[in-house]
Symmetry: C2
Subunit: 84 residues, 2 copies
Amino acid sequence: MKAFRVEVRVMPRATLLDPQGRAVEHALHALGFDEVTAVRIGKHLVLDVTAPSKDEAAARARAMCDRLLANPVTEDYSVLVEAA
Amino acid sequence: MKAFRVEVRVMPRATLLDPQGRAVEHALHALGFDEVTAVRIGKHLVLDVTAPSKDEAAARARAMCDRLLANPVTEDYSVLVEAA
């Protein structure tokens, strides 16, 4: 078993409203950052895992996203695995 | 002015406790994902901005992090800019 670091990005789906992102966009405009035209906000998770291979670590991480880390109705995720 | 997409990652500092990450780690163990040895959770922001250059877009994004997007006491951030 080897150690891997898995970076998981979970974002609201592009077709859905993102009220948190809209709120931050308004706050940035109020601070004078008028060049911002859109903001979307999601989660970034860093998981330390052990697995027999990089492919297996990625498969398990995707299973974690499907089971717990991401909401399949409202969120998309991406998984990136590197040796720890 | 050109359009850029800025990816901002905001994570709790490595030296600080991350209670949200610990809670997710325990939940993953309860679901049978025992290979997970650590979880840290932060934010991922995607900003659409206009700027005269890529360097200027990155500088403005770092200013936004310092002013609003990240807590300088408890969080670290990284900024990645690409042409939109």
